[in-house]
């Protein structure tokens, strides 16, 4: 199933995979940049998703002090997260290929 929730999960996991450890704001900006602002989500809704995935164990978080001496919560992909990303990517690709085919031939 490709719900909005799994889509957001997939985006977050991908960003963390490509760009390494990031704080919430960084993840939100990355998604925006990468999708060329095509995906505008309520930025806040990222946080429940992050905390949920943290609870499941796909990502971990820790408080660090950043470049400009500010406290930030940095998220990082776990091994389970990588696995989840791999399988979800594959399913997502299959799904979008399928949808594209229907759109083309219907």
């Amino acid at each position: 199933m490709a719900s909005a929730q799994t889509a957001l999960d997939l985006l977050v996991l991908t960003v963390l995979d490509r760009r390494g450890p990031l704080h919430g704001y960084g993840i939100a900006s990355s998604i925006e940049d990468l999708s060329a602002e095509a995906l505008r989500i309520d930025e806040g809704s990222l946080y429940p998703a992050l905390h949920r995935m943290e609870e499941i164990g796909w990502i971990t978080a820790s408080w660090t002090v950043t470049e400009n001496k500010r406290r930030a919560r940095i998220y990082q992909l776990t091994r389970a997260g990588k696995k989840q990303l791999a399988s979800e990517t594959e399913r997502w690709t299959n799904f979008s290929v399928g949808v594209a085919r229907v759109l083309r031939h219907a």
């Binding site: 946080y47 429940p48 919560r73």
Partner: protein, 901 residues
């Protein structure tokens, strides 16, 4: 996240809140900074960042949920919040908690009795493998009340059952304890005569039930051999601790139990084992072989119940066919002793099927009498609980109106509906938990008092009233269900507040009032039902007390007298003289009006029945009551002698010709219709022959066993010498003084005469009405309680509706409506509210009264008197409840009301 960090989060909610706040604030700051770089002004950037972020509070709530992985922390927060809310509205909290505590307490107390008396299995291993034996009752034609099942068996039949059952089941014998305690003496301690409950059991009884000794040993099959050859006893753990202070040297101590002799205590039964009859605690067990010698060969001496245990793999369907032929053979043999037995009854005996019934809860005479009343009382208590719940629900609804703006505020600050419902339900749960705890205490205090209501001096009822986990579980369950019941709807209503309307001060929607009306309707319906039931039971009791007894019970005390110095068998002439002399002495005491003796204790006597055979007429198909009384008995009881003469002392000396008899009107009507019964002869079967009786007197009908029955035919004979009899004394003095006077007479007459028990006729009559008193007492109290709660609910809703309509009423007043018209307005509102509930309540009470019909007396299910009384009481309460809001409406000042907004 580990469990510990979750717990840490739960215990330090503020820390988690700070973390979440920090993280999100960090995001907002960064976004604002980025926006500023794009050229927005600082304030614009902040606004824009917040807008892009979304509903921060709601998101934080969601995140918090994940971070706690559950509800631990939010529950604690809810509880804290609920406690604060309750402290802020103490009147509401106290009303709700108290009414709910009463209801929960009542339910728990009654359930604990129902559990102990009806549901709980015997405290032995594998109670489900136990069974009892019984046969259906034999219905005498012309008797209104249904015959009760026969559970008592005789020794010859038991021996055959036991042999036939063989490997498939083991059968144990438990003698009938009846309601008399036994006298005994502990010779070692040089103690006076005391009383205890004793039971005869077969040797293997303990082994079959799997009850081990706590000390010493219990009986074995060895104790089943020689009649009067096993003078040993086992005492109960309870008796051992109570009477012997848990003496570790108990084994070998002796008990003197007249007239059987001295018994040696061989052991103490396992702790908690009280016998096989819930409601009765056995103190001392004796081997069945120590019962009367004559009983072991007597086919008609039914003196015990049989409780058995199936062998593995055996059940009732296999056992019953094996035992049935034995029962039939015995019946055939036994019935030959009664050549005059009417065919209708004979056939019932011959066709009787042995019943093998589950015995997990033991055998209980108490259960037969009280099972139905107890269930009814529990249902009534459940009704109270429902009323209390509906009451709190409507209070909560009213409160939710008051809290509408608070809810609206919380919603607009981002609280989700489910979160609000959860929080409001927590408040309900907190209420019900507090009420449950209070109710638990209430139950512990009141349950023993309730049992005392069921006990009589002669028939002490005692239960293993363990307020244990079963009962606690029930209490918690009731509390929780109650909380959900009364909390859910108001919570749903309140959490549906619409912020925009509420915050602008728009009036609440009318939905709330509609639900309020629904809850008031529920209360009205149940309260009305309870009032009808309470009134029904109270009228029943009143009707029973008004029954024409046929004698004057007041000022009559009764003494059971034992004469140890004269033998029943060999010294009858001396006993005859003694009896007359004793009666004369007691009657001569100043302060005593009259005295008489009889063989029976009215209302508490085993019914001695025999056929009344009139020569030349067909054999009767029923048996009548026979009793032996002294000269002067009817005078002492003030039973009118209508014709003929009373007994005289010489009557008992008549040895040739028919013995004299006095009969009551019912007997004369049944056997000598339209004739003068004086001088008529009838016959009574005695063993294989018939004995003639001549009627010398006719007395008025009188009550005998139960007040519910129409007068039954009774034949009286003259009492003969006996060393145990009942003395009836009529005296205006109080009981204590009478006892002293009689005691003096007993002391002076010799023959080791003594008073064995004392009671009054009024007490005995009262004791036959225990069920009715229980139902009337509890029914009355609960009806009052239910009415009170419903009145509070009604008052609350009316008051609320008046407040809501202040403006409208003000306009009416300004337009010239007089106060009576305004009062009428409110009362009309009230009638609308209760009309529906009343109709449902009326219908339900009709069903209820039909269901309990067998417990009513002199009242029909739809009795105009009861319904009218109930309606009068109800409306009186309703108008009191409605009066205050109505007078408030009447006194509304138009000017103030219109400025109300």
């Amino acid at each position: 996240m580990s469990f510990f960090s979750r717990l840490k989060n739960a215990l330090h909610p503020t820390r988690l809140d700070h973390e979440l706040l920090d993280e999100m604030q960090d995001h907002l700051d960064r976004r604002a900074a980025a926006l500023r770089e794009q050229g927005l002004s600082p304030s614009e950037a902040a606004t824009q960042a917040a807008k892009r972020f979304g509903n921060a509070t709601l998101l934080r709530e969601q995140s918090r949920g994940f971070r706690l992985s559950g509800t631990l922390e939010s529950t604690l927060q809810d509880v804290r919040y609920a406690a604060r809310g309750m402290r802020k509205t103490p009147a509401f909290a106290i009303t709700a908690i108290l009414s709910l505590a009463l209801a929960i307490g009542a339910n728990t107390a009654i359930y604990s009795i129902v559990d102990a008396a009806l549901l709980r299995p015997l405290p032995v291993p594998e109670p489900d493998r136990l069974f009892t034996l019984s046969t259906p009752g034999v219905q005498e034609p012309g008797r209104a009340e249904p015959a009760s099942k026969r559970e008592n068996f005789n020794y010859p039949l038991y021996k055959q059952f036991r042999a036939t059952a063989g490997d498939s089941a083991r059968l144990a014998l438990f003698s009938n304890v009846g309601n008399q305690m036994t006298e005994l003496q502990i010779p070692d301690a040089n103690a006076p005569i005391e009383k205890a409950t004793r039971q005869f059991v077969s040797g293997e009884a303990f082994d079959i039930l799997k009850v081990p000794p706590a000390l010493g040993r219990v009986f074995t099959g060895e104790e089943d051999r020689i009649p009067w050859g096993h003078p040993v006893a086992v005492v109960s753990y309870d008796y051992w601790t109570r009477r012997f202070q848990s003496d570790p040297q108990i084994v070998g101590k002796r008990l003197y139990i007249p007239p059987r002799g001295t018994f040696t205590i061989i052991g103490v039964a396992q702790k908690g084992f009280f016998g096989v009859e819930p409601g009765r605690f056995i103190d001392i067990w004796l081997p069945a072989m120590m019962y009367s010698k004559a009983s072991f060969d007597d086919l008609g001496w039914n003196w015990f119940r049989i409780v058995g245990r199936f062998a593995p793999g055996v059940a009732a369907p296999q056992l019953q066919p094996r035992l049935q032929p034995i029962l039939r053979d015995w019946t055939q043999q036994w019935i030959n002793h009664f050549p005059t037995m009417p065919p209708a009854i004979k056939n019932q005996f011959l066709e009787a099927q042995l019943r093998v019934r589950p015995g997990r809860a033991g055998v209980s005479a108490f259960r037969d009498t009280f099972a139905r009343p107890l269930w009814i009382v529990l249902a009534v208590a459940a009704g109270i609980l429902l009323i209390a719940c509906a009451n709190i629900a409507s209070l909560l609804l009213a409160r939710s109106t008051a809290r509408a703006s608070e809810m609206a505020m919380r919603i607009s600050l981002g609280a989700g509906r489910s979160r609000l419902i959860r929080q409001l339900l927590t408040e309900s749960l907190l209420l019900s938990i507090l009420a449950g705890a209070l109710g638990w205490i209430l139950a512990i205090v009141t349950a023993p008092a309730l049992i005392a209501m069921l006990s009589t001096q002669n028939d002490p009822v005692k239960f293993a009233l363990a307020m244990d986990t079963r009962v606690l579980f029930f209490c918690v369950l009731v509390s929780t269900v109650a909380a959900v019941f009364f909390g859910l709807l108001p919570a749903w209503q309140a959490s549906g507040a619409q912020p925009m309307l509420e915050l602008r001060g728009m009036p609440a929607r009318s939905g709330k009032l509609r639900w309020g009306q629904f809850f008031v309707g529920v209360q009205v319906a149940f309260a009305f039902c309870l009032i009808v039931a309470g009134a029904g039971f109270l009228f029943t009791l009143k009707n029973l007390f008004a029954v024409n007894l046929g004698f004057a019970p007041h000022n009559v005390s009764m003494f059971m007298i034992g004469v140890a110095g004269l033998s029943d068998m060999t010294q009858r002439p001396q006993l005859n003289v003694f009896l007359d002399e004793f009666q004369k002495r007691v009657a001569a005491i100043p302060g005593i009006e009259s005295a008489a003796t009889a063989q029976w204790e009215l209302f508490d006597a085993p019914q001695i029945g025999a056929q009344v055979i009139v020569p030349g007429k067909p054999l009767p198909d029923r048996e009548e009551i026979f009793g032996s009384v002294s000269p002067g008995y009817f005078g002492a009881l003030k039973t009118p002698l209508l014709a003929g003469r009373d007994f005289e002392q010489r009557d008992r000396l008549i040895t040739t010709g028919p013995g004299p008899a006095i009969v009551n009107q019912a007997l004369a009507r049944a056997y000598f219709p339209g004739e003068n019964p004086i001088g008529k002869i009838f016959q009574v079967p005695n063993e294989q022959s018939l004995v003639d009786r001549v009627i010398i007197g006719l007395v008025a009908d009188s009550a005998f066993g139960s007040l519910r029955l129409a007068p039954q035919p009774i034949a009286y004979g003259v009492i003969r010498g006996t060393n145990r009899f009942e003395l009836y004394v009529r005296s205006p003095l109080e009981l204590g003084a009478v006892v002293k006077l009689v005691d003096g007479a007993v002391e002076s007459i010799g023959y080791r005469t003594r008073i064995m028990s004392v009671t009054t006729l009024d007490t005995l009559i009262g004791d036959t009405l225990l069920r009715e008193k229980l139902l009337a007492g509890i029914g009355g109290v609960f009806a009052f309680l239910g009415l009170f709660l419903a009145a509070i609910g009604l008052f609350g809703l009316l008051n609320y509706s008046v407040v809501r309509r202040t403006k409208e009423i003000g306009i009416r007043a300004a337009l010239g409506a007089r106060p009576p018209a305004l009062v009428y307005l409110v009362l009309k509102d009230m009638l609308n509210m209760i009309a529906g509930g009343l109709i449902v309540g009326l219908a339900a009470s009709l069903a209820l009264m039909t269901f309990v019909r067998s417990l009513l007396f002199g009242i029909r299910p739809l009795d105009p008197l009861v319904i009218t009384t109930a309606a009068a009481v109800f409306f009186a309460a309703a108008f009191i409840a409605g009066g205050l809001p109505a007078s408030r409406a009447a006194s509304i000042d138009p000017m103030v009301a219109l400025r109300h907004e």
